[in-house]
């Protein structure tokens, strides 16, 4: 449902008197959001530039230039950005379902780990034809991730424990479980460092063009599916009703506990596929860094997209561009970790931009009221 549709107010300003931008014939209010975003980006790079200048004495413009030139303007860089965005988009797609239904699933990293464990366990051991094995891997990972986040859902519906806390904590449990698996039950014989054996060849998805894997297409297909689920199905409708109008949903006879649990199951299940994608599309085995922190990055991406499903992949591409560009920063003498600083700054500025947006809208609405 388009819950955030911005319309004029019924009892305050007259919609026809709202200042309009003549050329585009849209209400000025519609511009508040992009304007706020532009401010956020400018602010991020301004502050980032000052930090570069102060800490390294480098020219910020050159630094940013090399930063983005590699990520977005070199053929290999672009492929790398797309490849890196794959698990982020999948995890983000899972996470955004929870956010759109008023729940905080911060456990994508752990759910990815569960997905990775299950995919590896099946992919290494079950010698089945690809047509059976691959769907089985994806299905089992989905169920595993769903049950994993279902624990948080259960704790919430049964005991009222906040899901933000439990999903976050469960990340660490899952990551430790992954480490145990690669050094124990799923370890390859005589490894140099903890890792699993390679999954069977028929479980490995092909590359479109190295390093970009077929899993990227899966990620892209997932986004409209999630959008449809939330906006166009009666299930998505009810899930959102519970999330944003708890009491109204209860009075309408909806089963709050059941629907809350469903959100957590679907959300965790999809996030887990991010881990699967890493195993069958990139690593072809399980290692300690197979989840790569993408589950945490996905939180930033969902926030950056303001929980808009369609905007989420673009946010993911941008963030993964910043991650990829980090390596080129070292060429101009800036530590690669600087891109993490920039991502953090960006998130803060986007939150700040939310305030600017509300303030702008409030001001314009007040003005319109005076005109009436």
């Amino acid at each position: 449902m388009e819950t955030r549709e911005q319309s004029s107010l019924e009892n305050t300003p007259n919609p026809n008197r709202m200042p309009r931008i003549k050329l585009l014939n849209i209400s000025r209010l519609a511009l508040a959001s992009p304007l706020a975003y532009i401010i956020a980006f400018l602010l991020t790079f301004l502050i980032g530039g000052i930090v570069i200048l102060a800490l390294t004495g480098q020219n910020p413009i050159t630094a940013y230039g090399s930063f983005f030139a590699y990520s977005f303007f070199s053929p290999y860089g672009i492929l790398e950005v797309l490849a890196k965005s794959t698990p982020i988009i999948i995890a983000g797609a899972g996470m955004i379902i929870a956010f759109r239904c008023g729940l905080w699933n911060l456990g994508a990293e752990g759910q990815m780990a569960i997905g990775a464990i299950i995919s590896t366990a099946i992919g290494v051991n079950l010698n089945l034809p690809a047509g059976v094995l691959l769907p089985l891997i994806f299905l089992a990972s989905f169920i595993g991730g769903a049950l994993w986040s279902g624990i948080s859902g259960f704790l919430k519906t049964k005991f009222g424990v906040h899901e933000m806390l439990t999903t976050l904590m469960m990340n660490y449990v899952a990551l430790k479980l992954l480490e145990y698996m690669i050094s124990g039950p799923l370890s390859m014989p005589h490894p140099n460092y903890p890792r699993s054996s390679e999954i069977l060849p028929q479980a490995q998805l092909p590359f479109l063009q190295y390093p970009l894997n077929v899993t990227f297409i899966i990620a892209l297909v997932l986004v409209p599916i999630v959008w449809l689920l939330i906006n166009r199905t009666s299930l998505g409708y009810r899930l959102q009703a519970v999330g944003f109008g708890h009491e109204a949903a209860r009075l309408a006879g909806m089963n709050i506990a059941k629907l809350t649990l469903i959100v957590m199951l679907i959300s965790g299940g999809i996030s887990a596929l991010g881990g699967t994608a890493e195993v069958v599309g990139d690593f072809m085995r399980m290692e300690r860094n197979v989840t790569g922190g993408y589950g945490f990055t996905a939180i930033v991406v969902v926030m950056l997209a303001r929980e808009e499903i369609i905007a989420m992949p673009f946010a993911a591409l941008f963030i993964s561009g910043m991650l990829v560009g980090a390596s080129s920063l070292t060429l101009v003498g800036i530590p690669a970790a600087f891109s993490q600083i920039l991502i953090g700054l960006l998130l803060l500025c986007v939150v700040f931009a939310g305030f600017i947006e509300r303030w702008l809208k409030h001001r314009w609405e007040e003005k319109a009221k005076v005109v009436c």
Binding site: L9, N11, P15, R238, A248, L251, N255
Partner: protein, 519 residues
């Protein structure tokens, strides 16, 4: 209002003059003037929404008045926040406690005291609190380091009282203080009020319960619909007189609705018992029967169980004992959604809409999975849009667009949208729980009209409310609920007076005209 003139005596500690307050379209307080004498128990009596709590909140500084003046000890003062009122010695025991459950009694009280020292002087604070507790026989001396979360509601209330006493308040405001108490805690609480009073504290006591008011008050001021009806000395007041002041003119104004021949029975309730969140009995042996084509009024003041009855009938609350039959079949344990599919419906006083959903999406909240609004789990936007447009037009929901967020609708339009949505499902039995609460007259009469239309089409409406004018206006029959029990049923409304019903609603007894029929 006569007291007003003679108020300029030194013993007046607090006086309000010409206080008005408006919330949206509702005039909550209309030019109220009242004086409170030192050392009296002054009860503010009135139904829910009569304005007494609003006045209290203005005196305490939680709300800002639109007009009027406040005098404390004869001096005009501006009260902008509770900080000011506490400074002038006014403290409030709120209806819903503001305590921190993880802190001890001592810590909760200490937080509220005026502390100028940097380090906490536990010993001194403890001694002071224990002394206060002993003085009024609170029995909290031994528990002073207990976490507040482990206390009973009655004990929590005593902590709230200690808070304001420790802060040095001399004028104590009590807002519906007995709502949270179990019946057995009531007497000791009223004794506490009397003890406080004897120690020189001035007490402003808000309640809608007549019995309590009569038991403890030196003076009683009655509010109705934002206006002060009058003040009477507590000793001279009678139940009848107060009831009359609370519900309005004594003239019998009965239903204009003609009783037709009873239709077929549709819903039957047998010995229904329901407990509340704390396990206390909320409904006691409710038995009643409803017929097709009638509107049955249920008169009851909030806190007497009508909300539990509404939720139990629609299946949102577990029934402890007893049975409910709908069209001959037992539904005591069936799910709310199943009951709604069978034609039952609940029209609430608020929270009928998801505030962040737009008007269109809110128009199917009760039946998103039904045809034609969804097919094979996919929503049908066209059907929903048409449905929403029809409701907006037919139920006169004023909105610039069906894409407007529901939170931006006014109260009246929200209820119209909700009612339209409910009626479009073609219910056979509707529970209307305070459906006109807080609405302007136009929206109110629109809702009556629609409910009467439903009745004429053969449906049944159980109309729960407090306002006797509206109950008598729409009902064919009327029941009265008091403390979880149906205390009276009027099958014939001709010749029934508002006054009689008012007495019953507040725990009076018609034959004896004043003694308590409750438990």
């Amino acid at each position: 209002m006569k007291q007003m003139e003679e108020t300029r005596t030194p013993e007046i500690v607090l006086e309000v003059q010409g206080i008005s307050k408006r919330f949206g379209q509702v005039q909550a307080l209309d030019c109220v003037s009242l004086a409170f004498r030192k050392g009296e128990i002054h009860t503010l009596l009135g139904e829910n929404g009569a304005g007494k709590t609003t006045l209290m909140n203005i005196i305490y500084g939680l709300y800002q008045k639109d007009a009027g003046e406040i005098f404390i000890d004869g001096q005009k003062q501006e009260i902008r926040s509770p900080y000011d009122s506490l400074k002038w010695g006014i403290g409030m025991v709120p209806q819903f406690f503001k305590l921190i459950p993880d802190l001890s009694i001592l810590e909760n009280i200490y937080l509220f005291m005026q502390n100028t020292k940097f380090f906490i002087d536990r010993k001194q604070a403890k001694a002071a609190i224990q002394k206060l507790s002993q003085m009024f026989c609170f029995g909290l001396e031994g528990k002073i380091d207990t976490e507040v979360g482990a206390l009973t509601e009655g004990e929590k209330q005593k902590v709230e009282i200690l808070k304001i006493l420790a802060r040095g308040s001399k004028i104590l405001l009590f807002d519906e203080a007995t709502n949270v108490l179990a019946p057995n805690e009531l007497d000791s609480f009223l004794q506490v009020i009397k003890d406080l009073n004897q120690n020189g504290y001035t007490i402003l006591y808000i309640t809608h319960r007549l019995q309590e008011a009569l038991q403890i008050s030196d003076r009683i001021s009655v509010f109705r619909k934002g206006k002060l009806v009058g003040s009477v000395p507590g000793k001279e007041a009678t139940l009848n007189q107060l009831t009359m002041m609370m519900v309005g003119s004594e003239l019998a104004k009965t239903s204009t609705v003609q009783n037709k021949v009873k239709g077929k029975p549709i819903l039957e309730v047998k010995n229904l018992c329901v407990t509340d969140e704390r396990g206390l009995q909320a409904l006691k042996n409710i038995s009643c029967q409803f017929y097709e084509g009638e509107i049955v009024g249920l008169a009851g003041i909030e806190g007497n169980g009508s909300n539990y009855l509404a939720e139990a009938l629609i299946g949102l609350r577990r029934v402890k004992n007893g049975k409910i039959y709908y069209r001959g079949a037992e539904i005591t344990r069936s799910l709310p959604l199943d009951r709604m599919k069978q034609g039952m419906s609940l029209m609430p006083s608020s929270n009928a809409l998801v505030p962040l959903f737009n008007v269109r999406d809110n128009s199917i909240l009760d039946y998103p999975e039904r045809l034609p609004f969804s097919r094979h789990g996919m929503l049908n936007r066209k059907a929903i849009t048409a449905h929403a447009k029809r409701i907006v037009q037919e139920y006169q929901v004023q909105t610039p667009s069906i894409l407007l967020q529901a939170s931006k609708l006014s109260g009246g339009n929200r209820q119209r949208l909700a009612l339209g949505r409910k009626i479009e499902a073609n219910p056979k039995f509707m529970i209307a729980y305070h459906p006109t609460k807080g609405l302007d007259i136009k929206s109110q009469s629109f809702i009556y009209e629609k409910l009467l239309q439903m009745k004429d089409n053969g449906a049944t409406v159980l109309f729960m409310g407090t306002d006797l004018d509206e109950l008598l206006l729409v009902s064919n029959r009327l029941m009265v609920i008091y403390r979880g029990q149906i205390v009276a049923t009027f099958d014939e409304l001709q010749g029934v007076s508002k006054f009689d019903i008012g007495v019953l609603m507040t725990g009076g007894n018609l034959c004896e005209g004043g003694s308590n029929s409750g438990n």
